[in-house]
Amino acid sequence: MTRWAMVIDTARCVGCQACTIACKTENATPADVWYAPVAEQVRGSYPSARTTFVPSLCNHCKDAPCVKACPTRALSRRPDGIVMYEQKKCCGSRACMNACPYGALHLYEGSRGETWQRGGRPEEMLRNRRAASRFSGRGEKWQMGQRTEETLQDRQAAARYSEGTIQKCTFCAHRIDYGIEHGLVPGIDPEATPACVVTCPAECRVFGDLEDDDSVVNRYLRDRGPTYTLRPEARTGAHVFYVD
């Protein structure tokens, strides 16, 4: 059985936020919604103070508190460990937002909130981007994920944002599924790997199957351990591991 996981080597992270932007581009998230922020932490004090970076995202927990808290079963865990959401089932109780220790769930407030005053609705953003893409002669391909057709992504991205409902990181499940369907290996082939992993210039993110001993994730864990997870006291069984 597959179990997708990510390892983040914070010693390599330079805090460039490329993963943050790649995720936003890939998922066309609304303004003020970032699935993969890189948080800063200042450690120590002068003269030995230093800033470290904590790239974060949904931890796709084995014992996911958001899934337990959701009254409508809009959040669920796939057999491969990815915690998915279905906006058409979500009633917007936001119990998941307070249950998640990592702040990985976001409410699309639509016109009720400030969100769209800055960035425009996702449909508009997509239309604008499509127009810009045609103008620059890039045709129907995205700049990222070259083999993924724009129309498919358009539909996926537009379908994700339904006012008053929850949205979250899915480990780029659409890329993983697309890759597997086309014989690619997630974690190895860029087209089948989460956008944040592909983009990282410092290669601090590694993605793969935790159940496969030869996967890039397990090899990395063997070479670089020991690892830790964020908020271990929350006992979530996180599938995003960190090494310092």
Partner: protein, 343 residues
Amino acid sequence: MSSTLTEVSRARPVGEVIRVRDGRVVSRGKLPQNVFMDRFAVEPKVQRVWDKSHATWFTLMAIGGGLFILSRLLGIEEQLGHLLGMPVSDLISFVLIAIGGLVLIWDLGRPLRILRALLNPASSWISRGAIADFAFLIFGLVLVLPDLQLGNTHPLASLPWNSQAATAGGRVFEVVAMISALVVMFYVGAVLGKPRSIPYWHSIAIPVQFVSSGGAMAMGMIVLLEVANGRSVGWRELVVLMVMLAVEFVALIWHLLTSTNVPGKRESLNMLLRGRYRVLFPVGVIGCGTLVPLLLCIVGLSARGSRPAVAVVDFVLVTCAGFALRLVTLRVGVFAPVRGEAR
């Protein structure tokens, strides 16, 4: 001269962002409810997902559930007045829980999907609570319907039970309604207390505080109804009110004194005792809302003539403090930093 745009106070508890240009407010707006989006920094963050409407919902549910259970356990529901032939205390509890439910539905992102909230009772306390709300309203109403009086007629008197639950059928409806009411009182505390994300909330003390405070508010309502109906306030009612207040007081103090150094809870306690709520919580909730009513109950027990005044004052103090307790508890919900302490 170039103008400068400044963003003021993105971290207000109410989640408001105010933009000021050259000293003048140019726009106001709401922040996203996910507080992790404010600043990409590893630090404690105060939740702003739930606020006044949830505190209102919690309060109404607690009073409604407690009123039904306690009036029936004390066997005084028939002495608190009647409306359309049905016990007023039962009707008030139905109305409060119905309004509480409507407040919850209004606050949902997608109110029309409320029935979907019944689908996950296996693990979600909101789902369990929603089922209990519906069960309470259905079984409670069915229980009192035979007493319905329109003019001089009792159109449903032929039903084989009555609101006093004297028959086996009525007893079943009463027990189911009481169990549902108990779940209604308890589940809001469990919604906060179960997840480990917010350390101040993750404690058995929160549901205990909410249930005992709900019981105290309900008893305040019962003694007020007794006064309104010209009935003398009984010693049993005052003793129950005292027990509820004593349990609430112990739960509050125990929660304030334990795990004080846990990241997240430490910041919550700072807000409660030294920060924004340093007056409202210790003086308002604990002092005026718990200890003073407790002392007044002792006065009422020893001086029978003072009981009507004690009942009115206790009702006001306990109800205001109950709402404040819930609101403050929500507002001091702090997510611990995602990674350990800075070294």
